[in-house]
Structures are given as C-alpha cells and as structure tokens.
C-alpha cells in the first residue's frame, strides 16, 4: 500500500551528483528507479515546453505550489495525480555531455541530479528541491550548460495515479520520461522510422543515423552524443505504455514548423504501429489569443469552468496547424475530442508578467501582485492524467 505522506527528517538525505570521482565523504545515493512503474514518454520539439511541463508537475505533486486549475469542461473531477512519497527521488535529471567538443576522441560524461522529497514544514517553498548544494535556490532553474549541441538531459519523474477516494490503496507508480535540452533527438527518432529500435537492449547504429539530414557533417562528438540519446529514448519507448505529445503553436521558423509536423506524423505512426495510447497537449496556449481571452473571462467571472471548445479550435480553426493530420488519425490512436488538450503553464497578465489572482479569484494589479498572489495555470495536469487513465483502462479491458 502506498500512502502519500511527508517523510521524517532522517529520510531527507540529499543525493550527490554522480559526476567525477567518488568524494572523500560519500553521501547516500537516493533510491532510484521503480522497476514496475508504468512508463509514459513525453515528447516534443525543442522549446515545446517539456522542461516546464516536468517542473510544473513536480511542483504539483508537492501539493503546495500555489496554482489554480481551470478544468477543460464543466463536470471535470479531481485529478488523481499524487506525489510518490515512497520514492525518495521524485525527479532525476541525467545530463549527458560531450567531454570536449573539439576532441574527436572525447567521450561522453554523465552527471545525474536527484530532486528528493522534502518535508513541507515551509509551505512557501517547493516540495521538491535539488539535492545538495542548490537547496538555497528554492526554485528550479534551467540547466547551466551553455550549448544544446554538446549535451542532452534525460529526465525521469515519479508519481502515482489513482482513482479519487481510493488514494494509496489503488494508486499506481508512474514514471514520466523525456529527453530534454535536445528535443531534436526526440524529433529525429520519431520522424525517421528507420531509427526505431525493436528490443530493449538494442542500439541505434551509426549507419541508421545517416537517415538524419546532414548527420555526416556533424562533429564526431555530437554524432556520438546524438546516437546515445536516440538509443536511450528508443529503449525507454520499448516499455512505454503511453505517449504525451507536446505541440507548440505559433512557431515562427519554417524549419521549426516542419520539424513539429514531421514529429507529429512520426508519433502517430509509432503509436499506431505499437498500439499505444496517445495524448496531445497544445502547450503555451496562452499564445493563442482566443484561448487567452477565454481564460481571462473565466477568471474574471470566477466560474473557473472553461467552456472553450478546444476541438473546434484545433480542428476547424487549425490552432496548431495540424488539421489534416488530426482528422486523419482521429479515432485511431486518439480521440480528438477526448485526448487533445490545450495547456498553458502560466497565463500572461498581458503586460509581460504572469496573471496573478487573489484567493477570492480577483485579478491582481501589478502593485498588488508585488505582495503575492496565485499564478493562473491552465489544464496542465490533464494530459498526463488522461494518459494514465487510458493506460489503466486498457489494462482493465485487456486491450493492448
């Protein structure tokens, strides 16, 4: 039985990064990996919102991140997503970095950061913090490394999913995974099906990688790094039971648009070939003017119940530029009505700052916001909850 609860002080051990030689005073490495966790892959092109999604959910599972949820439709129920307090590590980030970009013979160095459970005696701080040395930060930041071409980060987050009223007893360990800081790895893997692995111990070969445009012209160290990332992703997908696809609207670059469309098509191809549930999250929905106006109205009217017709928006008005693709696959890997969500991790106040509201629901002026407030975040948990729901539904019916 798993009952979410805060751990005692003795259980607050900080993890140490695994980079470099073992220090003189080794600290306990947190317990890692839940082998029987149900695995979900989160995928998206660079800058599609993967990092934010992970960070937001990590805060959500701490229960004390001040966030207001606007359910997608009237009648939505409590979303049964919980932090997994049986797992000491809630979030694990492994950075794979080429040791020397200028050295063709250089290797790949791995650094792992563990974000561990903390007691909630200080409710103003996030529940999860980076183990050791960054505790003072209080918030989680982007990675310090300067380039995206010499590194990628494999992220794993643990949580639990269960039905309301049956917390703990019937909840299941879940593991969300992504390849961060190098979304191109994800894009390439799904776009080019000649890269797909067919076994959990298989490896993407150098020969296969030539399907990636201009791969031959890359530096050797980057080629090795990329191949490693493709292999890690391919292996994870062997055991994954669902995929959450993040799509970003309003991409300014033609190449980014093409990359996202090709990724989406590849993901559809993958889930249909592997019979996996797929959930789509249109991230950064606050960039879509109509959606943003709808959220503001909802907040202003204090209904907190959105009637925004995302299906109509996506299919008829092409909000993410995926009209034909969604229509083609509707009813196969996904239901456009049930499995596509608009999400915004932070709604803009319209003047370059987050929209903050008071406890009574009133929007705060910039001056009032100085002294605090609740940031409005929209539907962010729904895609992952829907993915969990579909996994369990398939298990109960024996489908897949």
């Amino acid at each position: 039985m798993v009952v979410p609860k805060a751990k005692g002080a003795k259980a607050r051990a900080a993890a140490r990064p695994s980079k470099g030689p073992v220090p003189a005073k080794p600290k306990r490495v947190p317990k890692r990996e839940t082998s029987d966790a149900t695995k979900i892959a989160l995928v998206g092109i660079p800058a599609s919102g993967k990092t934010t999604y992970f960070r937001f959910l990590a805060g959500h599972f701490g229960l004390n991140l001040p966030v207001l949820y606007l359910p997608a439709r009237p009648g939505s129920q409590t979303i049964p997503l919980y932090g997994d307090l049986d797992e000491e590590v809630v979030l694990e980030e492994s950075t794979y970095e080429a040791t020397n970009p200028n050295d063709p013979e250089g290797g790949i160095e791995t650094t792992t950061r563990f974000y561990v459970n903390r007691p909630m005696d200080d409710p103003t701080k996030l529940w999860v913090e980076l183990a050791e040395s960054r505790g003072e930060q209080g918030v989680l930041t982007k990675y310090p490394l300067p380039t995206k071409y010499s590194q990628f980060v494999e992220m794993k987050m643990r949580f639990r999913y269960g039905l309301p009223g049956e917390r703990g007893r019937s909840s299941r360990a879940m593991l969300l995974h992504t390849i961060d800081e190098a979304g191109g790895i994800i894009s390439d893997y799904f776009t080019y099906d000649r890269l797909w692995l067919d076994a959990a111990d298989a490896e993407v070969t150098e020969r296969q990688c030539h399907v990636i445009p201009h791969f031959d012209s890359w530096r050797p160290d980057r080629r090795g790094l990329w191949r490693r990332g493709l292999t890690l992703l391919g292996r994870f997908l062997q055991d994954a039971e669902a995929i959450v696809l993040l799509l970003a609207p309003s991409l300014p670059s033609l190449r980014d648009q093409a990359q996202q469309v090709n990724l989406a098509r590849g993901v559809f191809r993958y889930v249909e070939e592997h019979n996996l549930p797929l959930v789509i999250a249109i991230s950064k929905a606050d960039k879509l003017p109509e959606f943003y106006a709808e959220v503001e109205r909802t907040v202003r009217d204090r209904t907190f119940q959105s009637a925004f017709d995302s299906d109509n928006f996506l299919l008829q008005r092409d909000g993410s530029g995926m009209g034909t693709i969604l229509v083609a696959h509707d009813g196969q890997a996904i239901s456009a009505k049930q499995d596509v969500f608009l999400v915004a991790s932070a709604v803009s106040g319209g003047d370059g700052r987050p929209l903050l509201i008071s406890e009574s629901g009133a929007a705060l002026s910039p001056e009032e916001a100085e002294s605090g407030g609740v940031p409005v975040m929209v539907n962010t948990t729904l895609p992952i909850a829907r993915a969990c729901e579909r996994i369990l539904s398939r298990r109960s019916t024996g489908d897949g």
């Binding site: 030539h210 201009h214 093409a258 559809f268 693709i325 083609a328």
Partner: protein, 496 residues
C-alpha cells in the same frame, strides 16, 4: 534583427548584382586558341570580345560590374560600379588596352577582387569570375590552404579573406586548357582543391558560397563561358543553400502545390496520371504539352548552342544581346528548321523580354499545343521549361520556385548513380501527386473527409519513407541530394 529597428535604409544592391571579372593578363594569354571551325584566335582577343559583350549587357541591366586584371601583380582596371551608356566608351577603351605580359598572381588577384565586393562590415557579397590559363606563380600576399587543408604559413589565408562570416559569394572559375603540364593550361587540380576547401569553409562557418569550375578548350567555349558567367547568375544552388534557405524555398513552392486554382501550371508537371483530372472539365490552358527546347538548367543558352541549333543560335544570341527585333527576325528565318515547339517557346520568351506579354501568352499557348506532338525521355524537362516560362509570364513566384528547384536539383545530381537519380525523380513525382490528395482534404471534394485525410497521410508516409531510404543510399553524402531531400521534407510538412 537589429536592422528592423533602425531607420529604413535605401535599397541595397542585391549581392547577385555585383560582379567582378578577374582576368588573366599573363604572357600566355597571347597564345592562340582554336575555333571549332579550325580558325585560331588569341586568348586575350577572345576575352576582350567577351568583355565587350558583358559591358553591353551590364550597361542595360544595371548590374554593378568591375574588372581586376593580373600578371605579376593584380590591379583594378574598372572599379565596381554601374556601367552607363555615357561611360561605356571609356571603359571599352580601358579594356582595349589590356595587354598580356609577365607571370600570374592568381591568388592575389582573387583577394583584390574580393576587396571590391567587400561590405563596410567586412562581408564579401557578390560574384567573382576568374578567367585564367595558367598556374599561380607570382602571388606574394595570399594563398589558399594546401590541398590537404593545411594553412600556408608564409602567406595570408585566401579563403578567410574571400569568405568571412556573413558573406554570400559566388566564385566561378573558367580555366583555359587542362593544365596537365605546367604553364600549358590552368592547374585544374589545385583549382579544384581551392574550391573544395572554400565550400568546406562555407559549410563550417555558415557562409553562403557557390562555386563552379569550367574548363574550356576552344575559342567559342571561352567566349560563351565568359559571357554566360555574367548573364547566368543563379541563386545559390540546392547544394550550397543553407537549410533555412531551402526551407523558405520549399514553403514557397508548397503553395504552388496546395492551390490548384492559382497555380494551374503545376498540373502539367506531374505526369499524365498525377491528378486524374476530370476529363469533362475544360482546361483553360489547352492540352498538355511538351517541347524540344534548349535543355538548359536555368533558361539560358548553353555553350555550343549556335553550333548545335544553327539558325536558332543566331536568334538566341540576339536575344541575349537584347536585340529582340533581330531575335524575332532570326527566329522567323529558322522556323522551318526547328521543331514547332521550339519556335513557339522562343517566340514567347523573346516577346516576354520585349515587354509584350500578350504576344508571349499566345506564343506560349502555341508551344503547349505543339508540345503534344513530342514524346520521349526529354518530355519532362521540356514541360518544365514551358511551365517555368509561364510562371514568369504570370508572375507566379510559387510555381517558379517549385519548377526551378526541381530542375536545378535534377541537373545537379546528373553525376549520381542511376538508382539515386531514379529515386529522387520518383520522390519528385510523388510530391507533385500529393497535390491531388491534399485537395481532397481541403476542398470538400471527397465524400468522406476523414478517409481522404487518411489517404493523404498514407501518401505522405510513403514519400517520407522514400526520403529516408534515399538518405541511407546517399552514402557519398552528396549535398545536392541532401538539399533536394530537405526540400521535399519541408514540402511534406507544408502539405498538412
């Protein structure tokens, strides 16, 4: 970009419109070069004639043009600037005084030519055309790296001088003779490694650099190569375009595939079964066509056209000299000797250049009609020539982008193995066919839109599989092939 925030600047000359001829004036240029007819003329005499022709052309089209000559040292004969009718005689007299003597400072001359094209901010933007018949034996300041890429320690690096970051440069080398022996022709091996290293530098630094090397052995070849080097200014080819440029071109071309009502010409490109048109629907352009026009990659006459086409060659030469009345007269005289489709095509081309779009449209329609009688492997290229001309006539930039890319891509992979060419051709055909499935999803032409969308996606997937397989087959990593595949990928993404 910062420039957007600044006050509007006067329109700058396009980099394609700035050209410098770097002309060899070493003693060996006094040597004769045989004509195809058996006659002989001095190399310098031929070069001068070509320069006169170029001057005539650039004085009409406003191109900014300059000349650097070199023997023991390089010097600026004509600074880069517009050649006006008023100063043309003066410039011609300068050219008439060009007299060969001494040795060849090729690298120093290229560096000087680059300086003429250099922007105040340091980038080099424009076209350099080097005409030489020998090996460098007099440069003292600049040199390219050794063929293996190792830099020269005794001279400044010519490549760095030619193509600093931000540059957009075209380098064309016209080499006289094959240079198998020193001083008996251009050092083609050295020149090849120079251009190869230039391309490598461009790839590494993001510079847009186009380069070509053409060896000539006869007077006619030399004259035409020099003249065409300054007429035939292409956009950077698919092999050298950056991926962003290719994405932009592909997105532009995809519009031609997506909007049949606005880009009807494209329907001719995809083969007889591509779109399965409604047989009862009237075709506003008449029947589908083919032609036996001059098979060039860019709409201009290739070398030896006059030899090959006889009377048509005279018409084309007059056309290139902007003597459109004369071109029409030559064309009429040649009419009995050339295929009808060629006649109509060139009539349309000349009329369009002459500013008579109505006559051009009539002639083009005749060309389409005449093309029906043509068949065989050359048909596709002929159809594309007509389509390209029609696109220009209609100012249909989307179709022009599409046709030009298809043509240039195929011409640049001619050296590839037959199976690579066949695969690429099949992908292009598949891309054109997508036009039909896309329309079914967009125009309510299908009873079941979801089924139509699925058919379209299945077609996309099939082509995408072909793209992947061709990338794997392209073991040489040929950049023209890669560029074509990049183009197809973006087109596919646009067709959604």
């Amino acid at each position: 970009m910062n420039a957007l925030a600044e006050a509007p600047a006067p329109p700058a000359a396009r980099y394609e419109d700035r050209q410098v001829l770097v002309l060899d004036l070493s003693r060996s240029m006094l040597a004769p070069l045989p004509e195809a007819t058996g006659a002989v003329r001095q190399k310098i005499e031929i070069a001068r004639a070509a320069v006169y022709q170029i001057l005539q052309n650039v004085s009409r089209n406003g191109t900014r043009f300059g000349i650097v000559s070199f023997s023991n040292t390089p010097r600026v004969v004509v600074p880069v600037g517009e050649i006006h009718a008023a100063n043309l005689p003066y410039v011609q007299s300068l050219v008439a005084m060009l007299t060969p003597a001494g040795r060849s400072a090729i690298w120093d001359a290229l560096a000087l030519g680059a300086d003429l094209l250099r922007e105040p901010t340091g980038e080099v933007r424009g076209t350099l055309v080097l005409v030489t018949d020998g090996w460098d034996n007099a440069s003292s300041r600049f040199a390219p790296p050794e063929p293996n890429g190792a830099p020269r320690t005794d001279r400044a690096d010519l490549l760095v001088h030619l193509a600093p970051p931000g540059s957009r440069l075209t380098v064309r080398v016209i080499g006289i003779g094959n240079g198998t022996e020193r001083d008996k022709g251009v050092d083609s091996g050295r020149m090849g490694s120079f251009l190869s290293n230039l391309r490598a530098l461009a790839r590494a630094t993001g510079v847009v650099a186009t380069s070509s090397y053409q060896e000539v052995d006869t007077a006619t070849e030399l004259f035409e190569e020099i003249v065409q080097a300054f007429l035939d200014i292409e956009e950077p080819s698919p092999a050298e375009l950056s991926q962003d440029d290719i994405a932009r071109d592909a997105a532009q071309a995809a519009k031609a595939l997506k909007s049949p009502n606005e880009h009807a010409t494209v329907a001719h490109l995809g083969g007889p079964d591509a779109l399965a048109p409604d047989a009862s629907a009237p075709d506003p352009e008449g029947p589908t066509l083919e032609v036996d026009v001059v098979p060039t990659a860019n709409g201009l006459l290739p070398p030896y056209a006059k030899d090959r086409y006889g009377p048509l060659g005279d018409a084309v030469n007059a056309y290139l000299a902007a003597d459109y009345e004369g071109a029409l007269q030559h064309l009429e005289r040649a009419r009995r000797l050339i295929p009808p489709v060629s006649y109509s095509y060139w009539r349309a081309k000349i009329a369009l250049a002459h500013g008579d779009p109505s006559d051009a449209a009539r002639a083009l329609l005749s060309a389409w009609t005449a093309s029906e009688a043509v068949s065989g492997p050359g048909r596709v290229r002929i159809v594309r020539r007509l389509a390209l001309l029609q696109a220009r006539l209609q100012k249909d930039t989307e179709t022009e982008a599409l046709v030009r890319f298809l043509e240039e891509s195929e011409s640049k992979v001619e050296q590839q193995p037959p199976e690579i060419r066949a695969s690429l051709r099949a992908l292009f055909d598949g891309l054109l066919e997508l036009r039909g499935t896309y329309q079914l999803t967009r125009m309510g032409a299908a009873d079941d839109p979801a089924a139509a969308a699925r058919r379209h996606e299945a077609a996309v997937e099939q082509i995408f599989g072909g793209v992947q397989d061709l990338r794997l087959e392209n073991t040489s990593g040929d950049r023209a092939v890669e560029g074509a595949l990049d183009f197809i990928e973006v087109c596919l993404a646009e067709m959604r």
